[in-house]
Symmetry: C2
Subunit: 110 residues, 2 copies
């Protein structure tokens, strides 16, 4: 648990923060520099830098240094990992079944 870090785990925490979601969604439009991203956010530029770092370790964005600046763009890997995890939950047949089985517990078993 502590030394086995799945990517989707980081994706959840990365996208759990509203500011990070906004940054990520802003990058959907086009790759952007830190300054551009910060201009659209209510927080400071260093804060955006820190958020980008989190998004990067979640494989949601990647950087491409261009001279003075650093151009961030969306990366598919993070969302793919997340989708795979969700598919695992989805495909479980017990999912829809869960509602029915509830009655079985009425008489205490133990």
């Amino acid at each position: 648990m502590t030394y086995e870090h799945a990517i989707y785990e980081n994706v959840f925490t990365a996208l759990a923060d509203p500011t990070r979601r906004h940054i990520f969604e802003a990058l959907r439009a086009r790759p952007q520099t830190v300054g551009e991203l910060a201009a659209d956010q209510p927080v400071s530029r260093p804060a955006v830098s820190q958020h980008l770092k989190v998004l990067e370790t979640a494989h949601l964005v990647s950087v491409e240094p261009q001279g003075n600046r650093r151009l961030y763009k969306i990366k598919r890997d993070g969302l793919e990992e997340l989708r795979t995890y969700l598919d695992g939950l989805w495909s479980d047949a017990l999912f829809a079944y869960g509602a029915e089985i509830a009655n079985r517990i009425k008489m205490k078993t133990e």
Copy 2:
């Protein structure tokens, strides 16, 4: 942002916590009471109660009181909301296109 709360927002925060993911995954097997869930977790029973509350507001689980106990089971709504949100990101044509457009920024446009 503060008075427009989308469900997927809560789903991200709900599943960002490892303990809550474990509880949620445990419920995939079958509906369970709070005590049963707590027995499988390294945290106290009240902690599990609090986690269940978070999962409930994210529409990931639902409760069904049965006499003395409360039977929790998985609810589809939360994951469906999440999936819809992810599909919105996925289907974006600019997604794959983003890598190409990067070069356009080379000369600063202002």
